[in-house]
């Protein structure tokens, strides 16, 4: 089994704050993996390190065996936790841009999804509702045939119908040689789509397990078990 992402003793410190503290992880292909933890536990830091928006203080992260670089960026499809697209562009221009920059971008797949939601291709992003904007971002991200999808809080603050759309889009678009890493603090909402769960607590991995095994061994849902581990 090919390992899509590997972390070895990965650390990121901001001054004296340890955002990530010696993280070791092995993520295999064909999995949907939940990166779960409360706010400030280091989820976004880990994702930024993997997409090389940050450089580690110590240790390393490798994507398909390579240190983060333009080469790995071509294999990683990253959905940040904010509006990151130029908001004056219309949907069609965004498709052009993704096609220009990412050779693995599948325009027809994106068009199908945009049409299914009857999103106007000639509407500038900034005129779209917050929910539509987020859907457009997700569609662009999932329309790439990437090796690794890094989705940072894709379901935070969306209504249940949008959440279903998002999860369904994720399930239907990744293929068996890819890995999807979804960071969230809303575990109950993503639980049913996960293969594996990673619990992150104060920058450390406290659990990385197959979700079915976790349910079997604890007799609890991931959400319940999470609440127990992170009890205040």
């Amino acid at each position: 089994m090919m390992e899509t992402m590997v972390c070895n003793g990965l650390c990121k410190y901001y001054g004296s704050v340890k955002a990530l503290d010696h993280v070791d992880l092995h993520l295999e292909e064909g999995r949907i993996i939940g990166l779960l933890g409360p706010n400030g536990s280091g989820k976004t830091t880990l994702i930024k390190l993997a997409s090389r928006l940050l450089v580690p203080t110590e240790g390393e992260v490798r994507i398909c065996g390579e240190l983060p670089s333009p080469v790995t960026k071509a294999m990683v499809s990253y959905l940040p936790d904010r509006n990151y697209l130029p908001d004056w562009m219309i949907a069609r221009e965004l498709l052009d841009m993704y096609e220009d920059f990412f050779t693995d971008f599948d325009r027809s797949r994106a068009l199908d999804m945009l049409n299914a939601l009857s999103i106007d291709l000639d509407m500038p992003l900034k005129k779209m509702s917050k929910g539509t904007k987020e859907k457009v971002q997700l569609i662009l991200t999932m329309s790439r045939h990437a090796k690794l999808y890094l989705l940072d809080e894709p379901i935070a603050g969306v209504d249940p119908a949008a959440r279903d759309f998002i999860l369904r889009t994720i399930i239907s678009n990744y293929d068996e040689s890819a890995t999807v890493l979804i960071s969230t603090h809303l575990i109950a909402d993503v639980e049913s789509v996960l293969d594996e769960a990673i619990f992150l607590k104060e920058g450390k991995v406290v659990l990385h397990q197959n979700v079915d095994e976790l349910r079997d061994s604890t007799g609890k849902s991931v959400d319940e078990y999470f609440r127990e581990v992170f009890k205040c």
Binding site: S172, S192, D195, V211, D212, R215, K220
Partner: protein, 121 residues
Amino acid sequence: MTWKFTDDIPIYLQIIEMMKMDIVSGKYKSGDKLPAVRDLAMEVGVNPNTVQKAFAELERQGLVQSERTSGRFVSIDEKGIEELRSDISDNYIAEMFANLRKLGMDDQMIRNAVKHWEDKQ
């Protein structure tokens, strides 16, 4: 996402139960083709690997059969379905007895209560 899952049982086991129900209830008849893994995963909102695991288990139990090119089919005959039905109904009855016993009823009281309930219907 039409199916609701309970928290404490692995999802693939719940999918197996649901598929069995669909077979017994006649939604899928003997020889019928089952939906593709990815389609079913999309429909119920779970990970394709989970559906795959459930199908593999159903295959192991001899309820479905996969043909390399054309997909998966319900492979048990009428007799098999009958057995499955009685298995499932046994489970329900066992569960009912267990619950009623918790209320302090003995088996005779339960039987009487069932008869009484039937008459009322």
